[in-house]
């Protein structure tokens, strides 16, 4: 085997080792980030080592961001539900983590609120909002763009 071939084989072995290490690092990171996000969004157990107060503040922040974005996309929801909007949204959010877009989230929350507040005075109006005469979803088309910032 020539010296050049030896170098090529060594380089290839090294590249393969680097890829294996990267894949392992991705798995470790996925595990930790998954634990944290589960704790922050659906009330999963607090991952080891975090300060509980910091977890609570970050979880509240994520919930508020989600609620405000939904309220921004469908302003009728905070208008109709008033002081019940925030507590209802908290219950909904813990049972329904955000997995897709905010527009779908807003529609899903509206339907959930109808099912989970049987005696609420705003039910009729919310039902009308969800099922207007004419196009069934016409009123639920997003009126604004999603807010996203960092």
């Amino acid at each position: 085997m020539s010296e050049r071939d030896e170098y090529l084989i060594r380089d290839r072995a090294e590249a393969e080792r680097a890829l294996t290490e990267l894949a392992a690092a991705r798995r470790r990171l996925a595990l930790r980030q998954g634990e944290l996000l589960t704790a922050l969004t659906v009330g999963g157990p607090a991952p080891t080592g975090f300060r509980p107060e910091q977890l609570r503040i970050q979880a509240d922040g994520l919930l508020a961001k989600r609620r405000e974005t939904v309220g921004h996309l469908m302003p009728e929801l905070p208008e109709l539900l008033g002081t019940e909007f925030a507590p209802l949204f908290r219950r909904y959010a813990h049972a329904h983590p955000l997995t897709g877009g905010y527009r779908a989230d807003a529609r899903q929350f509206a339907a959930w609120a109808l099912d989970h507040a049987p005696a609420a005075p705003w039910r009729t109006e919310l039902r009308r909002l969800l099922h207007p005469s004419g196009s069934r979803w016409s009123r639920l088309l997003p009126r604004r763009t999603a807010r996203t910032h960092g």
Binding site: R26, L29, Q33, G34, Q54, I57, G61, L62, G150
Partner: protein, 282 residues
């Protein structure tokens, strides 16, 4: 590491649908940033097209790539960001040092990456993938956090410095986020500025927020406060930023107030560039 030339952007504001006409009329506006996910490359809003026709630079700012995530960046999201960059003729695009999804869950916001050497390897690989797919240079932004990972080995600035070294990525320094982390996590903003390789600086974000019960909330819905402008001044004392941008996302003020905030930013920048005469030696 070849950083190439970093374009001069000047002073700008985050373009948002709600303030499009106010932005169009802002005096002396050099450039705007647009949230990449909120525009479609094939159907740019008329207001953005007007600004482009006037020669105003538009920089797409991504919020959902999650380059700090465990998975490789999603090709479709990357392609979309690249399309928006091409559609507006952007000199660069920006994203965050953050993860936004994990285990099938969406955070809906930017979360900090555990800043370990192990995670650094993953994030550097993600940044390189993004750089390969994007038609223009990428800048990464520091984020506002409410929590710290127990396994952190590096500060955010040190982590970003490693990424610059390994990938040549450029920096978007958010001075409001530095302030946020100083209040919430006790990380001194000026110490972080000292740890950042500011020669890689592409531009700076400035934004307002509010303190409640000892916690700083980076709302982008309140006026820019003096402590945030102080961090901007500290940055400008270290480097002349190629660009500075005001972010406002909610509770939009009247146009005159927005213009006033931009003027305040310009004053801080100019004061740093024209330091007072040194006192004469006796």
């Amino acid at each position: 590491m070849d950083l190439g030339t970093i374009p001069r952007l000047g002073v700008g504001v985050g373009w948002r649908t709600e303030i499009d006409t106010a932005v169009e009329r802002l005096p002396g506006l050099d450039w705007v940033e647009v949230v990449a996910e909120n525009v479609c490359a094939g159907h740019l809003p008329p207001s953005l097209r007007l600004l482009l026709e006037r020669g105003v630079t538009v920089v797409p700012h991504g919020v959902s790539l999650g380059l700090g995530g465990a998975d490789e960046p999603d090709p479709a999201r990357l392609a979309r960001l690249a399309e928006v960059a091409a559609a507006v003729g952007a000199p660069l695009v920006s994203e965050h040092l953050a993860f936004v999804r994990a285990g099938g869950l969406e955070a809906g916001h930017l979360l900090p990456v555990p800043r370990t050497r192990d995670a650094l390897r993953v994030v550097a690989a993600n940044v390189r993938i993004a750089q390969q797919e994007l038609p223009v240079p990428l800048a990464l932004e520091n984020i506002a956090a409410h929590l710290a990972w127990p396994e952190d080995e590096l500060t955010e600035a040190q982590f970003l410095a490693e990424l610059v070294e390994r990938t040549g990525v450029r920096l978007l320094v958010d001075v409001a986020n530095l302030h946020t982390n100083q209040v919430n996590l006790g990380v001194a903003a000026t110490a972080e500025l000292d740890r950042l390789p500011l020669e890689a600086l592409a531009y700076v974000h400035v934004a307002g927020g509010i303190e409640r019960d000892g916690v700083w909330h980076d709302t982008h819905a309140h006026p820019v406060t003096a402590p945030v402008l102080d961090v901007l001044a500290a940055l400008c004392a270290r480097v002349d930023p190629p660009g500075v941008l005001l972010e406002r996302d909610d509770r939009f003020p009247p146009p005159a107030e927005l213009a006033g905030e931009l003027d305040a930013i310009r004053r801080v920048h100019q004061a740093a560039r024209q330091p007072e005469e040194a006192p004469a030696h006796v």
